[in-house]
């Protein structure tokens, strides 16, 4: 069985050897493990895999200030002692150390998200996946929370070239502050972030009261949660809010940040989500049948990150993965059960029913303000989407595909599996 959607998956083996430094919880090696797991489940046979281009500094400067990009480009561990003022200015210390190949690392993950957005724009795929991306804390002029370049903002800017409105959804345990801040004053991007809030949890923003300003007022949505939220309450809340958001906002494309630190047992997170609960959000967003850009994000327990993103790759490919993890180079990391499922978290759920319903009411109330004052842009591009029911019945594969995609589909059906695609002309032939 093959997915009806065409999936582009971005991977560059070079990120695996990036090392943030001793005792740093961010371990890009998790991306290697994820990729291996994806391959051991043979998911690569159902999608196209691309090596992203390394984003040029000028591309990064589409969002970031040129001097910041320039600084990232030039700074090395050997020269950083000469730049203590600049390091402080750009917040490059502690959480965001300067390490070898820092800039190349940024170029790769940002290039992946940008490429992904461009492929979506050119209708070369329906879903694009870049697990290396999703570094949602980076600000215009400074690094923050392990993030140097905000690939999500760059990807969204790219999508805005083709779409009047882009929806950004963030299920990382941390608030997606960098993306929210970047689009705080525009109604062309709606940001929705589900995150832990309070107790001085990083980054400190993301209160339900933060709703955007100026034209962007009501176009930033924050769902602040407390420790220990579990699958049922999280997915119910997620589905309710996202359904309403899509219905109201009618985005042309969706960007989904799948930070895996919201899973139970994460080294830095404090939620109780299982991998299935996490993936359920991905499954739900996929059902809107909108162009979808999926990125990674946080996730600091390597094995669980790999499990989660491999499973979600499967979800996006409409493939159920067996619980038994197949042999692969990193099989030993998945002991003792060698299974996809992870143990349930033991953190007490501090989200009372009344708390969750208060949050939900406030968010929905803010959304109603949009309905009462629809932006002019609303009418311009009629959306082409499908709001799924909560029950998961199979959809007709051809339901929403236009002629262009259909043509391509036919071609794909015949050739794709055989690996006959002409590598030189991916744009035309694929």
């Amino acid at each position: 069985m093959r997915s009806k959607d065409k999936i582009s998956y971005f991977y560059d083996g070079d990120v695996g050897s990036v090392y943030f430094g001793p005792n740093h919880p961010m371990k890009p090696h998790r991306l290697c493990m994820t990729h291996h797991l994806v391959l051991s489940y043979e998911l690569h046979k159902k999608m196209e895999i691309y090596r992203p281009h390394k984003a040029y500094p000028v591309e990064l400067a589409q969002f970031h200030s040129a001097d910041y990009v320039e600084f990232l480009h030039r700074i090395t561990p050997d020269t950083q002692h000469l730049f203590s003022n600049e390091l402080a200015k750009y917040n490059l210390a502690e959480d965001c150390p300067v390490f070898e190949n820092l800039f190349e690392f940024c170029q790769i993950y940002a290039g992946g998200t940008i490429d992904a957005a461009r492929r979506l724009n050119n209708q070369l795929c329906d879903i694009a996946i870049n697990w290396a991306g999703g570094l949602h804390h980076a600000k215009k002029c400074e690094a923050s929370g392990f993030c140097y370049i905000n690939d999500l903002v760059l990807g969204i800017l790219e999508l805005l070239k083709y779409h009047a409105r882009v929806l950004y959804i963030d299920i990382d345990v941390h608030h997606g502050d960098g993306v929210e801040e970047a689009f705080y004053c525009t109604d062309r991007v709606m940001t929705v972030s589900f995150h832990k809030f309070g107790d001085l949890f990083f980054p400190g923003t993301g209160d339900v009261k933060e709703i955007g300003e100026k034209e962007g007022k009501f176009y930033a949505i924050n769902v602040p949660l407390k420790d220990g939220i579990d699958d049922p309450s999280f997915t119910r809340l997620f589905k309710t809010i996202i359904t309403k958001v899509v219905e109201t906002y009618q985005p042309g494309a969706v960007v989904l940040q799948c930070g895996a630190d919201s899973l139970a047992g994460d080294r830095l997170g404090c939620f109780n989500l299982s991998i299935d609960g996490h993936a359920e959000c991905v499954r739900f967003v996929k059902k809107f049948n909108l162009p979808l850009l999926v990125t990674g994000g946080g996730g600091y327990t390597k094995e669980n990150v790999a499990r989660c993103w491999a499973l979600e790759t499967g979800v996006l490919l409409d493939t159920d993965l067996p619980n038994e993890i197949p042999e692969n180079e990193y099989i030993k990391y998945f002991a003792p059960d060698f299974s996809l499922k992870i143990p349930h978290g033991h953190i007490e759920n501090l989200n009372s029913k009344s708390y969750i319903s208060t949050i939900k009411m406030q968010v929905l109330e803010n959304l109603r303000c949009i309905q009462h004052a629809p932006s002019v842009q609303m009418q311009e591009v009629p959306p082409d989407f499908y709001i799924p029911d909560f029950d998961e019945d199979e959809q007709n594969p051809d339901e929403r595909v236009d002629q262009h995609t259909q043509d391509k589909d036919i071609q794909r059906d015949e050739e794709y599996y055989e690996g006959d695609n002409d590598n030189d002309n991916p744009v035309d032939d694929v």
């Binding site: 695996g16 489940y41 691309y50 461009r118 801040e181 630190d261 042999e327 180079e329």
Partner: protein, 639 residues
């Protein structure tokens, strides 16, 4: 006047390769040997024909170009050899606007303003950028370029200046710079020389460099006027110990258009000892002595012999006690500049120190130090420690972030609810966030700052899709055209999980697991074809160990055992020192791909209740502490 060209170095015209054997060996195959432009030929006449320029400030364009060309060449080789950097681009650009940077001009402008430190102190980078024609408000960008390409050079030149005790003012542009560079080059060459002595002892290299000399004499020509008297006089000797006895020595006796190698035999008074030198090494020694005006040749020769003896001795035995009668480094200053051994020693010491530095386990820097600290900063050296610097930075940073946070919260109090109020509204059940807010504002609730320095520039939607560059869509690596689909056909059903049972004698034993992994691996390899390598799969998993010797693996384990994270030791520091020849990427790769996997395998079998997949995840090192966070912050940063 014209006599200056006489100072020109002997040239091995047809084989002008810079530096010692090592350079020669490395560069020539790449066609890297540097040729001077034709303009440098036919020296005397052409130069004489030109009007003399009174100062470097108003040289003709041609001269400027020449200088620039020469400067670029020098810098390229300098960076390559000394800084071991292979990143030198011909035209470094600023990533902001892609503009080319004229390094020569930049260097001169900074020099004019008193050097890196002065410029930094007086916040002159913006004006430096402007004067270098790089535009406004790109000061920090220019500073970066400077540090990357030119700072080391400046530091070295300063050092030379210092050791010379010369009165060359920094503003005394051209000639002075040349002098400095020449001395510098002497040192550089000395460095290279020693490297080659050590590493390539048995090799004999026939071709001597001298390209830089060409450059120097060329420059010398340009300042052939009176002001050149401030130039450092060049006494240049190219010694070539080849097959034991041939010594080529070029001295200024050579005539105006010296283009050949002056053979030692032509020189009077060459002591036999040196002729008899049994060294197989090629040695090049440029002695740029510090005499002003025209020095007596005799004296020069005398200093030459001293130098020769020194170098010969050092070449034979760098650690010879007899040569060791040099005072402590700290006392060097008390010796006059005329002491010739001083410069040689500077070179020697730098090299020896560098070696120690690399191998000593007591050194505390885990940085891959490309350059000995003493070469650019005297006070670092043995105690050079990145962590200290980081701590400094952290202090700076925390000050900064606190002020920023308070600025934000002040700003917020005006318009909407204050941070604490906001929290309380959001959640009445929340633990007392107002008190914790005051404790540390860093992660406390704060407002989203507004302004062009924070928000992205989002263009108005025009109703039309604008062009997006279709060129950069990534490179398809799978499915690849070269996949052998014979192997695809016999695949297992997609997504099939691991089989519960296998036919192995001892299921789940180390051998069994290893066997299945290898089996799967070769299958994947067959299927993927070249894509296997594109994805760096050949550098993943326990395969990585094949590039390691058993001894190295044992050493790696030992280092980790000696530095358990539970004792708050940064084992990575020790790892990096213990394997000076391995790159950090190799070490990290080994750690994740082999070491951790193996340990995990062991834990899986023997202590399934106590599994840690990362050393630095150890509970006994509180993460906050290791991270420089305060203990009361529950959840540090994240992505």
């Amino acid at each position: 006047m014209g006599q200056n060209s006489e100072l020109g170095w002997p040239m091995v015209a047809e084989k002008s390769v810079f530096g010692c054997a090592k350079t020669h060996h490395k560069l020539e195959p790449n066609g890297f040997s540097v040729k001077l432009e034709p303009a440098s030929e036919g020296r005397g006449g052409e130069v004489e024909g030109k009007p003399d320029k009174p100062s470097g400030g108003c040289r003709t364009k041609n001269e400027q170009d020449k200088l620039r060309y020469w400067f670029d060449q020098f810098l390229r080789i300098f960076l390559k050899e000394i800084c071991a950097g292979d990143s030198f681009q011909r035209n470094p650009t600023m990533s902001g606007n892609g503009q080319c940077v004229d390094l020569y001009k930049l260097f001169m402008v900074v020099r004019e303003k008193g050097g890196y430190d002065a410029v930094s102190e007086n916040m002159l980078w913006d004006s430096v950028a402007e004067e270098s024609g790089l535009g406004m408000n790109v000061g920090s960008a220019v500073k970066l370029v400077y540090v990357e390409y030119l700072d080391t050079l400046e530091k070295l030149i300063k050092k030379v200046d210092g050791s010379k005790g010369s009165d060359c003012g920094l503003s005394d542009r051209g000639a002075d710079l040349d002098g400095c560079l020449m001395e510098l080059k002497a040192k550089v060459k000395g460095l290279l020389l020693e490297i080659s002595d050590k590493e390539k002892r048995e090799e004999v290299y026939r071709h001597l460099d001298l390209v830089c000399e060409l450059g120097f004499s060329d420059v010398g020509k340009l300042y052939k006027t009176d002001e050149v008297k401030s130039m450092v006089l060049k006494s240049c000797g190219a010694m070539k110990f080849e097959d034991g006895s041939i010594l080529d020595l070029g001295l200024p006796e050579s005539k105006l258009n010296v283009t050949g190698v002056v053979k030692l035999e032509e020189m009077p008074g060459v002591p036999n000892e040196d002729k008899r030198s049994e060294s197989d090494d090629v040695m090049i020694m440029d002695q740029a002595s510090v005499n002003k005006e025209s020095s007596s040749r005799k004296r020069k020769r005398e200093s030459m012999w001293e130098i020769l003896n020194w170098v010969a001795g050092i070449a034979k035995n760098p650690c010879d006690a007899e040569i060791g009668l040099i005072p402590e480094r700290s006392k060097w200053k008390s010796h006059g500049n005329e002491e010739i051994w001083k410069q040689v020693l500077l070179v020697r010491e730098a090299i020896l120190l560098k070696r120690q530095f690399e191998s000593s386990a007591e050194q505390s820097s885990w940085q891959s130090q490309k350059m000995h600290p003493s070469m650019y900063d005297d006070h670092v050296g043995a105690t050079y420690n990145l962590r200290e610097r980081l701590k400094c930075n952290k202090r700076l940073l925390s000050v900064k972030s606190t002020t920023e946070a308070s600025v934000y919260s002040e700003a917020s109090s005006g318009t909407q609810s204050t941070c604490t109020k906001a929290t309380d509204c959001a959640d009445k059940e929340s633990p007392d966030s107002s008190s914790s807010c005051s404790e540390d504002e860093k992660y406390g609730p704060k407002r989203i700052p507004l302004g062009s320095t924070f928000q992205a520039d989002v263009p108005e939607w025009t109703g039309m899709a604008s062009e997006s560059d279709p060129k950069w869509l990534g490179t398809q690596t799978w499915p690849s055209g070269k996949v052998n689909h014979k192997f695809l056909i016999e695949r297992d059903p997609i997504g099939k999980g691991r089989q519960d049972s296998c036919g192995c004698q001892k299921p789940d034993s180390d051998e069994c697991v290893g066997f299945h992994i290898a089996q799967k691996r070769s299958k994947v390899k067959l299927e993927l074809g070249v894509t296997f390598n594109h994805w760096d799969f050949d550098k993943m998993g326990e395969e990585v160990k094949h590039s390691w010797t058993g001894e190295e693996e044992k050493k790696f384990r030992d280092v980790l055992r000696l530095n358990p994270p539970s004792q708050d030791k940064y084992f990575w520091d020790h790892i990096f020192w213990s394997f000076p020849t391995k790159s950090r990427a190799d070490l990290v790769s080994y750690y994740f791909n082999v070491f951790l996997l193996r340990r995990r395998g062991y834990q899986n079998r023997n202590t399934p209740g106590d599994i840690k997949s990362d050393d630095d995840e150890s509970d006994s090192v509180p993460l906050r502490k290791a991270f420089g966070h305060h203990a009361h912050i529950n959840h540090p940063a994240p992505s």
